[in-house]
């Protein structure tokens, strides 16, 4: 069942935590702190979490958003978990390429491909 919050929705299915951003411009500087808190909370009671973040709705990623994602990746790893990103629009993917963060994150075309990569 979906657990709605102001900026992200979190669902767990077949052992995978799926996180969707609710609206397309949510990843700007003005909301990023709150998003970061919500992301960290999503894995606080999980052991070895398998997490997929779906970017289908996201049009824009700021440097602050990259920083928040990196902190979240660190948190997931600290719990022996794994994080996948998927469904990035070309401009969002371009940001990862420019900053070379595509080397740090596992990025997949679709949610299914990301979820299957845990198997």
């Amino acid at each position: 069942m979906a657990a709605p919050s102001s900026h992200i929705s979190i669902r767990k299915h077949d052992g995978v935590i799926r996180i969707d951003f609710v609206d397309r411009n949510i990843l700007d500087e003005l909301n990023i702190h709150q998003i970061g808190e919500e992301l960290l909370k999503s894995v606080e009671s999980e052991f070895k979490p398998k997490v997929v973040i779906v970017f289908a709705n996201v049009e824009h990623l700021s440097s602050a958003a990259f920083g928040t994602l990196m902190k979240f990746l660190e948190r997931v790893k600290s719990r022996d978990g794994q994080l996948r990103l998927c469904e990035l629009k070309p401009r969002v993917l371009e940001g990862f390429t420019i900053t070379k963060l595509n080397r740090l994150f596992a990025i997949h075309d679709s949610y299914q491909a990301a979820a299957d990569s845990f198997k």
Partner: protein
């Protein structure tokens, strides 16, 4: 024959990050759209303005509520030029560690200036480093 709009100019004093950023972004988007800047240009400029203003408030002014940020823009049919000036002591952009180096890749900060350079046609910090000048030229190759 198409007639071009007169250049758009603005000179704003931003006293608070959230309100200042929203106001500036709306104004600039309207001016760009009226001068036929395409979607990719609008995206690049929006991102660069956001990074520059956030840096000015957070790093330049160190979030001091008594300090303001000056934002200036001049937009014509060919080029959009911007200045963002904070009231901090300035900095030398050469001292920013390269966030793409292997040693720095996992550090979660320091990518704002890099994104600005990647998306804008020219970027310059005016000494002592508290005033950023940047421009986007239609059809030009980005500066980075």
């Amino acid at each position: 024959m198409a007639t071009s709009l007169p250049a758009f100019r603005c000179d704003e004093t931003l006293r608070e990050l959230r309100q200042g950023l929203e106001s500036v972004q709306d104004t600039i988007a309207t001016a760009l759209s009226a001068r036929d800047y395409e979607e990719g240009a609008m995206f690049a400029i929006r991102l660069a303005i956001e990074e520059a203003i956030v840096n000015a408030f957070r790093h330049g002014n160190r979030s001091d509520p008594k300090k303001v940020v000056f934002f200036r823009a001049e937009i014509d049919d060919r080029e959009a030029r911007f200045e963002v000036e904070d009231q901090g002591p300035g900095f030398d952009p050469r001292t920013i560690p390269d966030p793409t180096d292997e040693d720095n890749i996992e550090i979660p900060s320091g990518r704002g200036v890099m994104l600005i350079r990647a998306y804008m046609s020219s970027v310059e910090y005016v000494k002592p480093g508290n005033r950023l000048r940047m421009s986007y030229v239609k059809g030009a190759v980005p500066s980075a």
